[in-house]
């Protein structure tokens, strides 16, 4: 499968092969806060693309409104900086128009689970061959730190100053229920694991989701007693339970404050674009 060389590529080489980095001399900088989990997500995605050895001119990332919206611009592949939450619908259009494209939507928890929830679940239902990467930082960061559909009960934000009183969505369970055929979770601590999940998701034929629990120490963290990125990395390290791991993983993941990482669901099912063209051929034959 993956050659050792492609696993071990140094960051500088990786950047040369996949990235379009900000031009420091022109005053350009990365738009993430220092220490943000998004940097780890970006390098994991770069590594996954590099390992897959895909021609980057056939790769499209689609981003919405949120701190991750710019991420696709840092790659040599194509990018559509679209509006808030609509990326899966854009993906449906891209894939139907050119099934050879590799489409990766880069979304947030607010983007995919609130304003764009309908596009997300319907794209999952269709089993369209796109990969949805959800950067879940437990709320709305780009607008200054408000609660959202993945904010844990009690989470303090600018719009839930006394603690969030709404039940959160579990993005992975939502995706599985909606018909996604590859669903995985990782965290910004698990950089190599995240790379593996992304690689498998992109390789998967059908609708794939990778939810990354991504720290936003600057906003959600500061409001909830965890203002350091390292505190989050420790939290993710200590509370993640490997899916399917032996030794009572079942019981451990039921513990409060624990979550499962790894592939949570995978199945083979005919894919949307192929089904469309197979059905269209029938109609064409009849006339």
């Amino acid at each position: 499968m993956t050659s050792a060389r492609r696993m071990a590529i140094p960051m500088v080489e990786l950047a040369k092969a996949t990235a379009r980095l900000p031009d420091a001399q022109a005053g350009e900088t990365f738009r993430y806060c220092p220490g943000c989990g998004l940097g780890i997500v970006q390098s994991a995605l770069a590594r996954a693309l590099y390992r897959l050895e895909i021609d980057l001119s056939t790769v499209v990332t689609v981003g919405g409104s949120g701190c991750y919206g710019i991420m696709g611009e840092y790659f040599q592949s194509n990018h559509i900086h679209g509006s808030h939450g609509r990326a899966p619908a854009v993906g449906v259009g891209l894939k139907l128009a050119n099934p050879k494209l590799t489409v990766i939507t880069i979304q947030g928890d607010g983007d995919a689970l609130a304003i764009g929830a309908s596009h997300f679940i319907h794209a999952a239902r269709r089993n369209v061959d796109i990969t949805v990467l959800i950067c879940n930082n437990f709320g709305y960061a780009n607008t200054g730190g408000q609660y959202g559909p993945s904010t844990p009960l009690g989470g303090v934000t600018e719009t839930s100053p006394a603690g969030c009183f709404e039940y959160p969505f579990d993005a992975c369970q939502l995706a599985i229920g909606a018909g996604a055929t590859f669903v995985a979770r990782s965290t910004s601590y698990h950089a190599i694991h995240m790379t593996n999940m992304l690689e498998r998701a992109i390789r998967h034929k059908g609708f794939s989701v990778v939810e990354v629990l991504q720290h936003c120490h600057v906003l959600y963290g500061k409001r909830n007693g965890m203002p350091e990125a390292t505190q989050w990395l420790t939290l993710f390290k200590e509370n993640s339970v490997r899916a399917g791991a032996p030794g009572g993983a079942e019981a451990r993941r039921a513990e409060p404050g624990k979550w499962e990482i790894g592939v949570l669901h995978q199945e083979e099912k005919p894919e949307f674009v192929e089904m469309y063209f197979a059905t269209a051929a029938k109609l064409a034959g009849n006339r």
Partner: protein
Amino acid sequence: MSNKHAQSRRVLLLGNEACAEGAIAAGVRFYAGYPITPATEIFERFAYRLPALGGVCVQMEDECGSMHALLGAAAAGQRVATATSGPGFNLVQEGIASLASAELPAVIINVQRIGPSTGSIHGAQMDVMQAQWGFNGNHQTIALAPSSVSECFWTTVRAVELAETLRMPVLVMSEMHVGLMRQAVELPDYDEVRIEGRPRPTCAPSDYRTYLCKRLEDVPPLADIGSGYRNVFQVTTHGSETAGGGGMVWDYKEADWHLRHLAAKVLHRRHEIEWVEPFATEDAEVVIVAYGSCVSAALAAMKAARQDGRRVGVLKLVSLWPFPEDAVRRHAAKAELVLVPELNLGQMVREVERVLGPSGIPVHPINRVDSYYMWPDDILGVLNAMAGR
């Protein structure tokens, strides 16, 4: 746009079906939609026609989804269209804004019905201002309004051409009264319908930028995603050079370029876009400025008035946006009175007033909002009252 009728055929069609046929003749092979009366026949026609042509017709979860599927397909190189009405026209606004800002072509057909909100499914011309001002930000839209089944075909053909050549969403503002009208029309041989496509890059892929152009009014060449040219499409405010080149520095000059460019590329071509048809305006003392379903009433009123010895003319507007102001000025130059019949409480009349205001020519609106057609007597009644008869 060539209009040679090499193997034309005469067929009986609904206005809605003619819109779909016009789009297909102009090369549209991708439709995404959501059902709504009275636009559904357009969707159904595509669903039956496109698969057989190797194209795509797909039903999305809502109009917002349709528009963004169009955005993706347009970026991948397809000629794309959707159709909707009333409440759906509200929901497509976000997508139209995205296509406008990202400079991607699409045709949106609005078969207007009564609003606000769900309103009713009956005929109206109540969204003509929304066509220009329905979404946020500064921009110049293009909207064409058919008044017959044949015009449903040809306005849609032209809308596809304008969308492709100017890299932007273009609106066909139909109406229930036009969309559900059945008329015999002469359809051309589709192979003879040749329209200009999107401008293509001639540079090497390494020199290509998604929005690179010299002058404000230029249309930047557009490569398809997947063609080897790297694209960065942005619904966000962007500049010409920096965008698509890893341009991550936002500055005020870029905002200024982006907004002036979106307006300039349309307004620079306003005379090519202008589409009007005058009827006996040369000697007219009264000019009726009409569009869409009101045109036939205006022509009937003109005929009756002429028989009565009164010099009445009609200026039919097919292009509504950019407002064909020079044509209105020209054809109303000698008029003593201008009448503007509309199936709303006075929308395009504001533009006519704006344009004719300095000349002092009185402009009088005639309005119906009870779901019926404009009637020749509605116009003649006002004409008689104004003429003191």
